[in-house]
Amino acid sequence: MIRIFSILVGAFFSLALLLAVLTGAYSYVTEPPAKTVEATFYEHPEKLALASDGVFGKFDRQQLQRGFQVYKEVCAACHSLKHVAFRDLSALGYNEAEVKAIAASYTVNAQDPLTGEFKDRPGMAADKFPPVVYAGKGVPPDLSLITKSRHGGAAYIHSLLIGYSEQPAELIKAFPDAKTPDGLYYNRYFPTLNLSMPAPITSEGQVTYGDGTKATVDQMSADVSAFLVWTAEPELEKRRQTGLWWMGFLLFTTVLAYMAYRNIWAEKKGH
């Protein structure tokens, strides 16, 4: 009885699916989905090699400092970094005095502990990066987590920063309606191909590096991407270091446990 009922229920769902797949196949054949402009012209991020890659990777502090400089002088005009505190910057190799000086160069709106009113004061090491007021339309995303919140991570950020160009002529030819709208900018690494952010890093030497590194567009883009890996995963080095010790310990105990298992079962297998 239950099996007859089951076969009937199975037939009910199966017929519905059969109908669905036939309907789908029919419309697929009669109106095949047109190739979209994104599917044709979007490109996956280029590979970006960073010192922090891989199981044994460590941050390149010099690069992180350069990347921070790019953030401060270019990105910070529109993008906040609200999950990062000034005190965290000591991880980039800045000493206490330098961290305090960086913090003090920012203005923070905070509650005065004596009067209770909110007022501006110079930043302190314990403060987080203050919010950025963007005058234009829209909300530029906070950058603290940007490498974790985009497919491709740092490689995507790097590619996006160097990927601005005029729309290719073939694109306009193949998709006349897909002209980049006013106020948007064409970028082949952006999933929808057009984004509201104009190219932020445009010319060589836009930032003057203190360590003598040549500030090419590619270099600045790579540096800020490396910095943003750190802002998203400040725990990265400690995590891997802990992981290596822990895995070593686990491997040792697992081998011991395996030998104990072989020993205990030795006379039981019977073969």
Binding site: R3, F12, L17, K148, H151, E235
Partner: protein, 426 residues
């Protein structure tokens, strides 16, 4: 199950004797996972996943309780409090990555455990209750995992909650009021986040309770084994301790190695980047996908694209998705084959492997965007899924001619039965 030849608990120390008279807890442990519990000697590694699932539950409860000390279930600060855990709480990143990847590990282990049951017929009499309780645990796990994924209040949290609670609105007449009642509003908001947190904290302990019943029911008849032949004599079994404690012990180490590789070296590999974007009710993500362990069922939900008879497509999808799991409850009665193990069921075995492949295809399609050819592939794969459980399993179990079974577990291990003592060694 207590076979007559099982060791008896005999406390030698006066303190343990005193304890045994007042509260025989050591006796319970001895008879449940100690030397007093006899287990088939031929269990293979597929039988290790029950212990691993218990380990996962413990990892989740312990890391979860500590995370709850630092997390704030309020839409204004939930996302930031998660980042606070990641950055400012000592070892907070390890707790959170351990918990998030722990959920994935739990589901991998549970899927292996369930498919072990499908293959070796673990659901068959007299162990139906073990199986039924297991399906209850799986449903509770799915609910708990869904609720937990909402808590960080990222984009996928919010839109996942929107989609999953939206399933209830497919129910005729009462659907919309029901959804609003469940959410405490018209869309996921603070009321929903608060109750999701409360339930996410509660349900693991409900799971723990059902797990205890699951193990209790298991111990009434004892484990199945790869031959599916019941235990007959002493030579068919070994005591749980030290034999299976040793075997489970080293597989726990192996499991921890794989799990730790994810936690420490690729903690975000199984997650979706969008959940690092704070929830924004005004901006729908390009592709809303649940966590990977829901993909097969998500594919079934989305496979129903046309209305059928009087049932709208959306309701069909919801009914199908729930039926896809609820059918497992009826499995002990749909599969009437007296032979448990697929090892001796040539026809069922072939369909079993088709099912494994089918669920893998469903999982792939569930994670892919809802466009062709994935929709058509998921429709065909869903079709097989329903045929398998509702039609093929009942029919195969009545027409199949099973292979001859070994006389006993001992014979299957040694090539001869210990009872006919002097038989040639294989």
């Amino acid at each position: 199950m207590s076979f007559p030849w099982a060791n008896e608990y005999k406390p030698s120390h006066p303190l343990m004797q005193w304890m045994d008279e007042k509260l025989p807890l050591p006796r319970l442990v001895y008879n449940a996972v100690g030397s007093g519990y006899e287990v088939p000697r031929n269990l293979n590694y597929m039988y290790n996943f029950g212990i691993l699932a218990g380990l996962c539950l413990m990892i989740q409860i312990i890391s979860g309780v500590v995370l709850a000390m630092h997390y704030a279930p309020n839409t204004l600060v939930a996302f930031d409090s998660t980042e606070h855990i990641m950055r400012d709480v000592n070892w907070g990143w390890m707790l959170r990555y351990g918990h998030a990847n722990g959920a994935s590990a739990f589901f991998i282990v549970i899927y292996a455990h369930i498919f072990r049951g499908f293959y070796y017929g673990s659901y068959k009499a007299p162990r139906e209750m073990v199986w039924l309780l297991g399906v209850v645990i799986f449903l509770l796990m799915m609910a708990t995992a869904f609720l937990g994924y909402v808590l960080p209040w990222g984009q996928m949290s919010f839109w996942g909650a929107q989609v999953i609670t939206g399933l209830f609105s497919a129910i005729p007449l009462v659907g919309d009021p029901l959804r609003e009642w469940l959410l405490g509003g018209f869309a996921p908001d603070n009321a929903a986040l608060n109750r999701f947190f409360s339930l996410h904290f509660l349900l693991p302990f409900v799971i723990l309770g059902v797990v205890i019943l699951h193990i209790w029911a298991l111990h009434i008849n004892g484990s199945t084994n790869p031959t599916g032949v019941e235990v007959k004599t002493k030579s068919d079994t070994v005591s749980f301790h030290p034999y299976y404690t040793a075997k489970d012990g080293w597989t726990v180490g192996l499991f921890m190695l794989i799990y730790s590789a994810f936690v420490f070296f690729m903690p975000n590999a199984l997650g979706h980047p969008d959940n690092y974007i704070p929830a924004n009710p005004m901006q729908t993500p390009a592709h809303i996908v649940p966590e990977w362990y829901f993909w097969p069922f998500y594919a079934i939900l989305r496979a129903f694209t046309v209305d059928f008879l009087i049932v709208p497509a959306k309701l069909m999808g919801v009914l199908a998705m729930f039926s896809a799991i609820l059918v497992w409850f009826f499995l002990p009665w749909l599969d009437k084959s007296p032979v448990r193990s697929a090892k001796f069921r040539p026809l069922y075995r072939k369909f079993f492997w088709v099912l494994v492949l089918d669920v893998a295809v469903l999982a792939y399609c569930g994670g892919a965007p809802a466009e062709e050819p994935f929709v058509m592939i998921s429709q065909i794969a869903s079709l097989y899924y329903f045929l398998h459980f509702f039609v093929i399993v009942p029919i195969v179990s009545s027409i199949e001619r099973p292979d001859p079974l070994p006389f006993s577990i001992t014979e299957s291990v040694l090539g001869h039965d210990g009872q006919s003592a002097l038989g040639a060694k294989a």
